[in-house]
Symmetry: C2
DNA sequence: AAGGTTGATGCAACCGATTGCAGACCTAGC
DNA sequence: GCTAGGTCTGCAATCGGTTGCATCAACCTT
């Protein structure tokens, strides 16, 4: 037995398919009596709407695609989770594409998705102009899509200011890869805040956000003659690597050096010592980006960026310098 | 200007839409000459196939949905990542649904997805019978879908055997919630291995896989008069909570108690001490489950379960008892 | 009572492809 | 020269709904 179609319901209810369709999508356009008959027929046949057919007619797909650089990375999956909370009640499906394994071009196609949420700053803007797009976390140069961002400069300034408040004077900063938007913004904030508090220019070490580069930064720190007492690292992963490597060399955190990270990924709460860090509101970033995209799809959006507030989470990796 | 349709290409090439369609899907059925003309017309119009229309005609969706209990949990996102690697080259879209915020029934519908990969053992089997389904990690009682699983009992036995090898005699086990399939299997393995090695019956503490329940287990351990020297916890999260709480009370790991976790979630490598644990091959579980589902969709599958091997990862949280 | 509303319903075109069937043409075989 | 077989292509139905427009009855106005 085949799946019942709208025709079957219509026949059983003794009305046209048009009426059944209307009873489903705009019940108020159908008389109460007919509606009841139709509902009975639907129940009897076990009819269920074919979304593919409806979507074809409506020239939409009912899906939103999220482009993530690495699905296995918890940083992104928490944003995804926020996106899902908003999309699902709105009746949209969430399609997830890992840009390492999937060609993003595939989803620029209108017959795949109604809109895109881009979590990967390295996606070429040419891919994205075809569909409504919102970018999260990383702005894409050359793309005029609304972004859901944080104020990286102010966030970095918070970290440095915290060091200053504790009495640190010699600050170090481990950056992300040079040229990256996030890197430059966090660096600018670091230098601005240091100068605003009358501290000497921060010592810079280049990293690449990865754990390994944090370890290398620790080596660099160990070799310094005049070591910074407060180290601000542009990602929590680097901070983990940094602390781990120092501990291996008998350096105490925060006894010998205070450390601040960036992101507040889940694990850093459980490190010993717990990592003081800048929390990005990842769930909220996901929610807001989904809301913004839905607004665009509904035709009421203002094109502006949304800046979400960050928070300095105080844990045990920072202390007064000795 | 509207998006070009197959009709536009046909008109420009001077052929029927049927021929264009064939040139696209079965080029060998079209003469080389016509094919060339059509390709030129496609290039000129910038035509791109509408997948929604094709899928409607083919009675398929081109999407596979993954049902996850919690998208923000890295344990699941790594499985998802594995799924994505397989699905994408096969031309399928990956739809992700968080069962906390989405009604799984929505995706039982054939007009939404061609098949399901279920990572949530609590999804009622009635939802799943309608579509080809593969379950991952947790078997669902009453559902006869192929599963991609690990041998939880053997895995637990590995942990206990390791304790025995180190010379521990008094073993404790923090379980998941009683009644859960995973809980019972791991418990059975724990008890079997203990008895096989001639150890006294393990001390049991009930947990629920969460960090907080690991902390509670630590309280319970602290209050014991005859404390187990080797504690095996049924999840890494619990192990984190357990160790953190003990350290807060000045108990050294592995100095005073050795600890083994379960899962090998990413963060436990970076704890101090690094956690000895049972690694579940999450990426592989994702890959295999996707492959199995594709096999079912292509009509060649054998209905059996796939058991993937686990591995005991030795780190610094286990040592010879003092 | 004629004309104007309003509300409920049906007709049939449409979304954009795919495909069974049949016709046109060509070649080869006898 | 005629037919069988093969290749290439087009016609038109189909997937399963949606919706603009037309129709018609009932009710309202004046």
């Amino acid at each position: 037995m085949n799946r019942p179609r709208i025709t079957d319901v219509a026949r059983l209810a003794g009305v046209s398919t048009a009426t059944v369709s209307r009873a489903l999508s705009r019940p108020e356009r159908v008389s109460a009596e007919t509606r009841a008959t139709i509902e009975r027929a639907i129940a009897e046949t076990g009819y269920r709407l074919n979304h593919a057919a409806r979507n074809l007619r409506h020239q939409r797909t009912g899906s939103i695609v999220a482009l993530v650089p690495n699905l296995a990375n918890p940083y992104f999956s928490q944003i995804l989770s926020g996106i899902a909370t908003v999309l699902s009640p709105a009746g949209y499906n969430l399609l997830v594409a890992d840009t390492r394994t999937t060609n993003p071009l595939r989803y620029a196609d209108p017959s795949h998705a109604d809109g895109l949420i881009v979590l990967d700053g390295s996606v070429p803007p040419s891919v994205l102009i075809e569909r409504p797009t919102v970018v999260v976390s990383e702005q894409i140069p050359g793309l005029s899509a609304p972004g859901v961002l944080i104020d990286n400069e102010a966030a970095a300034a918070m970290a440095v200011t915290h060091f200053a408040d504790l009495g640190h004077r010699k600050i170090g900063h481990v950056t992300g890869p040079r040229g990256n938007v996030l890197t430059e913004q966090r660096l600018a904030g670091t230098e601005r805040a240091a100068s605003a508090r009358g501290l000497p220019a921060p010592v810079l070490i280049e990293g690449d956000f990865s754990l390994a580069s944090g370890r290398r930064a620790a080596q660099a720190w160990l070799e310094m003659t005049d070591r910074p007492t407060g180290m601000f690292l542009a990602s929590d992963e680097m901070a983990c690597g940094f602390i781990g490597e120092l501990q291996r060399h008998g350096i105490g955190v925060p006894r010998d050096v205070s450390v601040i990270g960036f992101d507040d990924i889940e694990m850093v709460e459980h490190l010993t010592p717990g990592l003081t860090t800048i929390r990005q509101p990842r769930g909220a970033m996901g929610c807001v980006s989904a809301e913004r995209l839905l607004a665009i799809l509904n035709g009421n959006d203002d094109e502006s960026d949304t800046i979400l507030p960050v928070e300095l989470i105080l844990r045990a990796s920072t202390a007064i310098p000795r």
